[in-house]
């Protein structure tokens, strides 16, 4: 129980950090919506923190949507799509090592593209992708290094 609580609290802290950084970056209103951070957080929490509770994830998603002014269900859809993609890849591809370094990145990019399908309001697609990928790369490996 204690370890579960610890993990959950840790995830809550990471979510708060993600939310704060998202708001901080979105404060400049350059490339909205900046979804890459929450995607990275979901992937990290799902695969590395073993956050099994889907309810928690959904609550986080709703809070994130409400806080940043997105449509409700936006981030949750991305996350659930990532999980479905994970299931699909698991069925279709068999990796021998089962510890591919690039697998979470593939899922993150997949989530980002799915977010573009859901919300294609941005007119600067290439800069949007570049900025999101750079920020996501930095954030993901920062979490890998310091968040575990």
């Amino acid at each position: 129980m204690k370890s579960k609580k610890f993990i959950f609290n840790n995830v809550v802290g990471l979510f708060a950090l993600t939310l704060f950084i998202s708001m901080l970056i979105s404060g400049w209103l350059i490339f909205e919506p900046l979804t890459i951070l929450i995607i990275v957080f979901f992937v990290f929490a799902y695969f590395h923190k073993k956050l099994n509770s889907l309810i928690s994830i959904l609550i986080f998603g709703f809070i994130y949507d409400g806080s940043l002014g997105y449509l409700f269900g936006f981030t949750n859809l991305i996350f659930l799509e990532i999980i479905l993609m994970d299931f699909a890849l698991k069925k279709l591809i068999s990796l021998k090592t089962q510890r591919s370094q690039y697998y979470p990145i593939v899922l993150i990019v997949n989530g980002l593209l799915f977010s573009l399908i859901l919300n294609h309001s941005t007119s600067h697609l290439i800069p949007y992708l570049i900025v999101n990928l750079i920020i996501g790369y930095i954030y993901f490996f920062s979490l890998m290094k310091y968040g575990r």
Partner: protein
Amino acid sequence: MLLSAKKRKGSSLFNRSKISINLTLVLFIFNFFIFAANQESVFFKSIKHSLNLTPYSLSFFLDNLSNGIDSVHQYFHFKKTLIEENHNLQNQLYLLNNQILLQENLILDNLELQNKLEIKEKYFDHSVIAKILKINYSGKNHHFLINKGRSDQIQAGHIVVDDKGILGQVIDVQTDRSTVKTIRSKDFYLTGYILIKNKPYQTLVQGNNQSLTINYFSKNIPIQIGDSIFTTGDDMFIPEDVRIGKVAKLQPSGLKDFYKVIIQPASNPNQQKYLIVLK
């Protein structure tokens, strides 16, 4: 390398048997319906309003933070300015107080000078008003320095008076300074008369460093405490009928039929700034 950091025990990507794919699909569809629903309704708006943490609110917070920092800076700047202003005002107040004191001193000086001038005009035609410079001059008791000297035709022997009576005698004269010995000095002798029942009785008065004494005064004369004593005058410098003082005590002398009379001088140089030198 950052990528190599992932090779840890927790990096199990394909072991997530706990999550049911059916549940995930149901949730996905449910979320899609929510996402596609009209979110302009009151229900969604109220939730969004309660979560009110949009980037705008963050920028509002940041703007207000900078305003707050500015306000704090302004407060300290204002406080510093106020302290400086207060300091300047205190300095000005100090100067003004000094000026007021100087003016009060001037008024007092003027009053005293007017008093002395009136005395001079009324009683002593040939006189000059002098200012006391130093009391107990050169460490001598009952001596003081005045700011008039030979250039004002002051001579040694001239008598000095104040508004109460005789005060002393000039003993040394320089160009613009003179030394005065008071009547309280031990070696100061003066001839005076005591008015007793409107009848004068001549006597010799001597200083004793504290007051004046008449060493032998006949007990047959009905002298009383409070009787006044005046100068007899001489042909040289001492004028007539200038008050010396009052009888303060009658003490027994060495001789049976005589009193030793203690006289309290009328004048007091410590209470004066200006004196009249009689020429």
